[in-house]
Symmetry: C2
Subunit: 139 residues, 2 copies
């Protein structure tokens, strides 16, 4: 078993949740993938489990900090959280829908930390979404 799966199972166990086929399948559907809309996640898993179970699993994973919801316009997509994948931000093209995941940028991260500190907050997480027009669509 690889490292991320070991971490996942440890996290489920230590919170007294069972390790099930559905929970592993949802995790596998997300790992090293582009963020997925619920519709697509449900579709990808429809041979393995049903819609309600996908929703329940995503809710659980979100509470455990295993996944995060990523808002694009007024839809959202699901991706594994920073614990299982590199932290990054997103830039989406308003014309063609292209979605780019940026590398971590310590400059922005630092500024965001400073901003939170200025307001007396202990920071837990943050999301930065940028909308624009990609180089292809500018032409």
């Amino acid at each position: 078993m690889d490292n991320v799966h070991a971490t996942l199972i440890k996290q489920l166990n230590s919170n007294n949740f069972s390790v099930t086929k559905t929970r592993l399948a949802v995790f596998d559907a997300l790992i090293n993938k582009e963020p997925l809309a619920m519709k697509d996640l449900v579709l990808n898993l429809d041979k393995i489990t049903d819609r309600a179970s996908v929703y329940r699993t995503v809710d659980l994973y979100e509470k455990l900090g295993i996944v995060q919801r990523l808002n694009i316009g007024w839809k959202y997509k699901i991706e594994l959280s920073d614990k299982y994948q590199e932290h990054h931000h997103h830039i989406s093209c308003s014309i063609c829908g292209l979605l780019i995941s940026t590398d971590g940028d310590s400059h922005i991260e630092q500024d965001i930390n400073d901003l939170a500190k200025k307001h007396g907050f202990k920071i837990l997480s943050h999301q930065l979404e940028i909308q624009g027009v990609c180089s292809n669509c500018i032409k």
Copy 2:
């Protein structure tokens, strides 16, 4: 008539949209208020207009850049855009739900512009949402 309403009416006129009771009411429901969920916006206006009209007005206002959708967790809320209210970001407390609108921070804005430019994007808009624990809840 005050300045923001004059601006709104000018913007509707110049785009060949009528100035209606519904459109003014939606604007008034948002100005100088905390961001509102669609559900609450519809509820607040149910004496004046119906759900479909609120949705249509919000869609129109979004296209015209009068309002923007703001994502908090996995819901979204509507607020007036930077044109009618100062540009800002949000920090929300995961414990008590406190929502703080930050002042503009030119440092972060600059970084975000640079990040978009690095990927060849012409930036249209962005949202930064921060979750943490507020100073009150830390105690």
